[in-house]
Amino acid sequence: MSVLLAFLAAALFGTGTFLLLQRRLSRIIIGIGLIGHGSNVLLLTSGGGRGLPPIIDSADPTDFSDPLPQALALTSIVITFGVTAFLFALGYRSWKITHDDIVEDDVEDRYIARRVVVDQMVAEGEAAAREIELDEDRG
């Protein structure tokens, strides 16, 4: 582990996040790819400093680099690829439908934000209270 590699992970995460915050699906995919690389750097460096490839009988085991983070990173690489491939398909479909790859605002969410259900509920209660008051005035 060195400050330099920590900086590399930070840079990959930072640029990845920057891309993730955009509307374009293709840029989001690139962003996720960068973040994936960044997390692999983190995984790798969590195994301590550099060493020799962990292959038995090729060297003294004390000189090996840590094999466990490598196995984890390998899984991570493959899964990142799976996610990326899925997002590619999503982008392709988005283009097929809208001829664009913009991630639109969610209409449902915008609608919920302007819903009036609560007011209706309150209005029912207020109407009932008013009715009782009016009844009393007549009686």
Binding site: G14, F18, L42, G48, L68, F81, A89, K96, R114, D119
Partner: protein, 823 residues
């Protein structure tokens, strides 16, 4: 006792489940639970009255000392008698109440009389009765709270049983919001008291009640809970609203039982805590205000049921005044009032239900006097109302005399004189609204210029059948019997009082106590009540002008609605801000929370930088990767961005080589090639550069979020690597290296880990790939189904307008719904 609680649960669910088949006869099934309880009660009554409470214990989690304790002492005996006795009568009554014969009201209440709704009602009432028994039997504060909340929930469901009626929904909501709020206060109070006392058992608290300022705070919380439940001012507004429920529910929950839960709790705690802190001041102030306000508002009602509801509010205030003082002589009056009130108020509610059922109205302006077949009903109503008013020879008179006598001769508390005046004044009001009930029923208050159909409506009304009237008649018989021969209750009342005040004198109830001060006050009450009734028109006019003058004073009702409105508006504003539909904004919020919060923790663990650079090759690699990453985020052409990502990937492979990870390097190399090919395949279809579109978030904001994330990762990487060196003992990796050859039969440790030591992980990874592949293929294939007859999805969507105009789409949707949007 547990069997009885379980029986209520079983019978209740059975009644709900079989509602469709049984219809109103579900109440016959429901009646079995209170009937069984009453029989069991008879077998226990002798011992309990003799002073040995029945106890039951259920060990739940022994190791944690969790057990459920039920105790049937004298006071619980009295409460259970009310809950199950009235419950049984109400079940019988409800069978007739929900009979299909419904001359005028069938157009308004068809939904509520639907067999399933009726079955649900019967089941819910049984479940409620079980919860109510739980309250009065529980010896554990938390168990009591659980049952307490169960009654709130069943009450909510019962008020809102007719869910097509907006008023029922509003009333149910108001009831559960107010009692639920009180329930939370109660929970806090009970926990404070339990912790301070070192036990949650009521019997143990009685032996050694805790004291101190923290206990006083807890008691105030408990009182808030009791006040909301028993509809005390200023929390009383939900009770009149709850009258939209069918009459059996109102008679049972909202006059005879549930609303007395608060009184019950106050009665249990008063002997222990009345002398502490602000208990008495609070109880006496709130009780007095409630008793007066309830009486004043009851006098103004034209709806007989609402009149009774406000009357109940007033009487509940009265009970608080009697049972909340913690003095045995006054509590005696309260115990008797509990019984008397259950008898006369349930009768009156049942009679209102009969009138409503047979004529379709409860409005005194439309009731014009009934035919001769209604004599028995009218007799019951007069007796019950007279008992409520405190007329001698009736049960209500006994309790009122005891109350006046208690405050006159034993009321050595601050403000006793004021409370006595309040009781007398409110009793005058009670007499007046009782009289109003009777006059209304006899048609004296009918509107003079009524149309003839209305007159015929009451005159020719079908008289109630014997089943319909029997419950009210039997309660009337009790009111008369206990009024004439109160001595018959001596032992019963004595046991109840003894459970609250062990040192109380033996109870001797008398019909006639001689010409005492209390009798003089009783006479004043009756005289005042008669005067108020005779001069009811000027009184009503005075009340109207008084109400008009107070128009601008916020009532509890209006404050409640204003609070509700404010909460709703605020919640909507918060939602509109937080949940605005923009993915980038959601991602920013998530990412900021996920980075900033841990960053605070990481900084504390930071202990120095590691070496700056491990190997000179890294400088070149890292420089190139950072450059490529920056370029990927800036370039305007898609293909350039994709290639920059590929460059980062290949450089990663190089980094793996330098770190001694050849497997990673190979995998990365293969995958990166595949990704780039895929990307180019997709990009072939897309336009080459981004078209201009305003981003959801301004660029500086995006840069800020990205920098925050980068900073957190930097600190995290440094702190995490430092943490690794602090681990003692052999590391997992060393174990794996050592056993790779002997156990995994492989030289390449990474491969052995993947296929052997962590084989399940790899299986999961393969599954993820398969799922992703299946998803990707099905997504990519959509829109290719040309030539199979119908239009493709793509074509269908093309016909629609492009979905880019979000606000337009929302506006159109709202226009369709025809609702007004405040902006």
């Amino acid at each position: 006792m547990f069997v009885l609680l379980a029986l209520h649960l079983v019978v209740g669910t059975a009644a709900i489940a079989s509602g469709r088949q049984l219809g109103r006869w579900a109440f016959a099934l429901a009646a079995s639970a209170p009937a069984a309880t009453l029989i069991w009660l008879l077998t226990q009554a002798g011992d309990v009255v003799d002073g040995s409470p029945a106890v039951a214990r259920f060990e739940w989690v022994d190791q944690l000392g969790l057990a459920l304790d039920l105790v049937l002492d004298g006071f619980a005996l009295l409460m259970v008698s009310i809950v199950s006795g009235i419950g049984l009568l109400i079940c019988v009554y409800a069978i007739a109440y929900f009979a299909p014969h419904d001359p005028a009201g069938d157009d308004t209440e068809t939904e509520a009389h639907h067999p399933r709704a009726v079955g649900r009602l019967a089941g819910m009432m049984t479940l409620f009765a079980g919860a109510m028994l739980g309250i009065v039997l529980s010896d554990h504060l938390i168990a009591l709270f659980v049952f307490w909340e169960l009654t709130s929930i069943t009450s909510y469901l019962l008020i809102g049983n007719d869910d097509t009626n907006p008023r029922a929904r509003a009333a149910a909501l108001q009831a559960i919001l107010i009692t639920g709020m009180g329930g939370l206060a109660l929970l806090a109070g009970l926990i404070i008291i339990g912790q301070a006392g070192g036990t949650y058992r009521i019997t143990e608290l009685v032996a050694d009640p805790p004291t101190g300022s923290i206990v006083n705070a807890g008691l105030i919380c408990v009182l808030v809970g009791a006040f909301t439940k028993s509809a005390q001012a200023p929390f009383s507004s939900w009770l009149p609203g709850a009258m939209v429920a069918p009459t059996p529910v109102s008679a049972y929950l909202h006059s005879a039982t549930m609303v007395k839960a608060g009184v019950y709790l106050v009665a249990r705690f008063a002997p222990l805590f009345a002398i502490a802190g602000s208990w008495r001041v609070l109880v006496l102030t709130v009780g007095s205000a409630t008793m007066l306000i309830g009486g004043l508002r009851a006098l103004r009602q034209t709806d007989l049921k609402l009149l009774l509801a406000y009357g109940t509010v007033s009487q509940l205030g009265f009970m608080m005044l009697l049972l909340g003082t913690g003095l045995d002589h006054i509590a005696l009056a309260g115990v008797v009032l509990l019984l008397a009130h259950a008898a006369f108020k349930a009768t009156l509610f049942m009679i209102v239900g009969i009138i409503d059922h047979e004529t379709g109205t409860r409005d005194v302006r439309r009731l014009h006097g009934f035919g001769p077949r209604w004599r028995v009903t009218q007799f019951c109503a007069v007796i019950a109302a007279a008992s409520m008013a405190g007329v001698p020879l009736l049960f209500g008179f006994i309790s009122k005399e005891l109350a006046l006598e208690g405050y006159l001769e034993h009321g050595d508390v601050t403000g006793a004189a004021v409370v006595l005046i309040v009781i007398v004044a409110a009793s005058v009001l009670t007499f007046a609204y009782s009289a109003r009930f009777v006059l209304g029923m006899f048609g004296v208050l009918a509107a003079p210029d009524a149309d003839p159909t209305d007159i015929a409506l009451t005159r020719d009304a079908h008289a109630p059948g014997w089943l319909f009237l029997a419950p009210a008649a039997s309660l009337t018989a009790l009111t008369l019997a206990f009024g004439l021969v109160p001595q018959s209750l001596d032992q019963f009342v004595d046991a109840a009082l003894g459970a609250l005040h062990p040192s109380a004198e033996t109870v001797h109830l008398h019909l006639w106590n001689g010409f005492t001060g209390a009798f003089v006050l009783s006479s004043i009450v009756i005289l005042g009540g008669v005067l108020l009734t005779v001069f009811r028109r000027p009184v009503a006019a005075a009340q109207r002008s008084g109400a008009a003058a107070l128009r601008f004073v916020p009532t509890a009702d209006r404050s409640f609605n204003a609070l509700l409105r404010w909460t709703g508006v605020t919640a909507r504003r918060v939602t509109a801000t937080v949940q605005n539909g923009s993915l980038p904004i959601y991602v920013s919020v998530i990412v900021l929370v996920a980075t900033v919060v841990p960053l605070i923790a990481f900084v504390g663990d930071f202990d120095g930088f590691p070496q700056l650079v491990e190997s000179p090759v890294h400088v070149a690699l890292v420089g190139a990767m950072v450059g490529a990453a920056l370029a990927a985020s800036i370039v305007r052409r898609r293909i350039a961005g994709a290639l920059m990502l590929g460059a980062v990937g290949y450089l990663m492979a190089g980094l793996y080589v330098t770190q001694g990870a050849p497997d990673l390097a190979l995998t990365q190399f293969a995958i990166e090639t595949l990704s780039t090919v895929l990307f180019v395949l997709v990009l072939r279809h897309l336009p080459s550069s981004w078209s201009h579109r305003a981003p959801a978030i301004a660029a500086p904001m995006r840069v800020g979020v990205s920098l925050a994330v980068g900073a957190t990762i930097f600190v995290f990487a440094l702190v995490a690597s430092g943490a690794r060196d602090n681990v003692a003992g052999p590391q997992q990796s060393e174990v794996m290296i050592d056993s790779s050859l002997p156990k995994g039969k492989g030289h390449n440790v990474v491969n052995v880990i993947l296929v052997d030591f962590r084989g399940w992980d790899t299986l999961g990874e393969i599954t993820v790939l398969l799922v992703a592949a299946a998803g990707a293929v099905s997504l990519a294939r959509t829109g290719r189904r040309r030539g199979d007859g119908g239009p493709t999805l793509e074509e269908l969507l093309d016909e629609l307008e492009p979905a880019t105009d979000v606000d337009g789409a929302v506006d159109r949707e709202l226009d369709d719904l025809d609702v007004e949007v405040p902006r």
